[in-house]
């Protein structure tokens, strides 16, 4: 599958597994897990620099922006204004003009405020951002995001950090069939089979954080996810057999006694 590259807004990606950098024990573990996952896109959050503890190391001392595509997010933003402000700050901090856009609607579910999301995406696309929106598993909203200029759409599999897996495979499948840009399933994956399932459905990539960082052994789970995404992609391209209610023998009747 060497030539099976993911291309978004003219940029080519090697890995179809994208990972977050939150919730790890320390930066050393973050780095090791990311290396093991084989991911070449890593998400980061934008926050105030700690000005009282200046000795604090920076994440980007461990994750080399020359080696990885750093994807800043607008995590924690509940309004269009905040999401736009954080996106601009991320760009000003100088790693890229790509942003994973989140406009959240509710603290308990962290479901996206899709109306706000479309509005923020529109503003940022006009400012030249490459906007990758974290959205609901709603095909109509996904299309609207494409219409305002998003070069990929990132629907959730389940609530962020829930580990519930692919809750609505049929909606995701409809999104994948209807929407003509890459679809990255983002959030909700719990274990390797969830990631494989997303890829088998036809996702172009899967983005996860907690499923790896929150595992008992994050390094081993990172490796599991790498193979799951790879296997799922291969299976999708190979084309699965149709489901049948009754058995169909694999061995011929001919030649039997």
């Amino acid at each position: 599958m060497a030539d099976d590259r993911l291309i978004i807004a003219g940029r080519e990606f090697k890995s179809r597994l994208w990972v977050g950098t939150g919730k790890y024990k320390d930066f050393a573990e973050t780095k090791k897990a990311i290396e093991m996952s084989g991911a070449d896109v890593v998400t980061v959050a934008v926050r105030r620099v700690n000005i009282t503890d200046r000795s604090k190391e920076n994440l980007l001392d461990y994750i080399d922006p020359k080696k990885y595509t750093i994807l800043p997010n607008t995590a924690g933003c509940y309004t269009v204004e905040d999401a736009v402000r954080y996106s601009r700050l991320a760009r000003a901090a100088g790693v890229s003009d790509v942003v994973k856009l989140e406009v959240l609607g509710d603290e308990r579910t962290l479901f996206p405020d899709t109306a706000g999301l479309i509005e923020a995406a529109k503003i940022l696309v006009k400012e030249g951002f490459i906007v990758l929106p974290y959205t609901n598993d709603d095909p109509i909203v996904a299309q609207k995001l494409v219409d305002v200029g998003c070069p990929a759409v990132m629907p959730l599999a389940a609530p962020i950090g829930s580990g519930l897996g692919i809750r609505n495979p049929y909606n995701l499948k409809i999104i994948m069939e209807m929407i003509k840009v890459p679809i990255i399933v983002d959030a909700g994956v719990g274990t390797a089979s969830d990631a494989a399932f997303a890829m088998e459905l036809g996702a172009d990539a899967v983005l996860m954080n907690t499923a790896i960082a929150g595992a008992k052994d994050p390094i081993a789970m990172a490796e599991a996810m790498k193979y799951a995404v790879y296997a799922g992609r291969l299976a999708y391209k190979a084309g699965r057999i149709p489901r049948k209610l009754y058995a169909m023998a694999s061995s011929p009747i001919e030649g039997m006694l």
Partner: protein, 72 residues
């Protein structure tokens, strides 16, 4: 004229020399200028302006960088 000014940096009170620039402030705080974004009174500054923008009394400065995060 006073020698120092009071500003707010990332929500905390901070005293600066009255002729200090944004670059001076970052240097004082031992913050490397690469990979940080600076917002001065809600205006995001171009990196090239750091050593030209003078701080004045009452300014609100936000210095932002990247930390580990997936989704919120």
């Amino acid at each position: 004229m006073q020698d120092t000014i009071q500003i707010h940096v990332n929500g905390q009170a901070q005293t600066c020399d009255c002729d200090a620039t944004v670059a001076d402030l970052l240097q004082d705080l031992e913050i490397r200028t690469e990979r940080v974004a600076v917002e001065l009174n809600l205006e995001i500054l171009d990196r090239a302006m750091f050593d030209q923008r003078l701080l004045k009394d009452g300014d609100r400065v936000e210095i932002m960088s990247f930390i580990g995060g997936g989704s919120f």
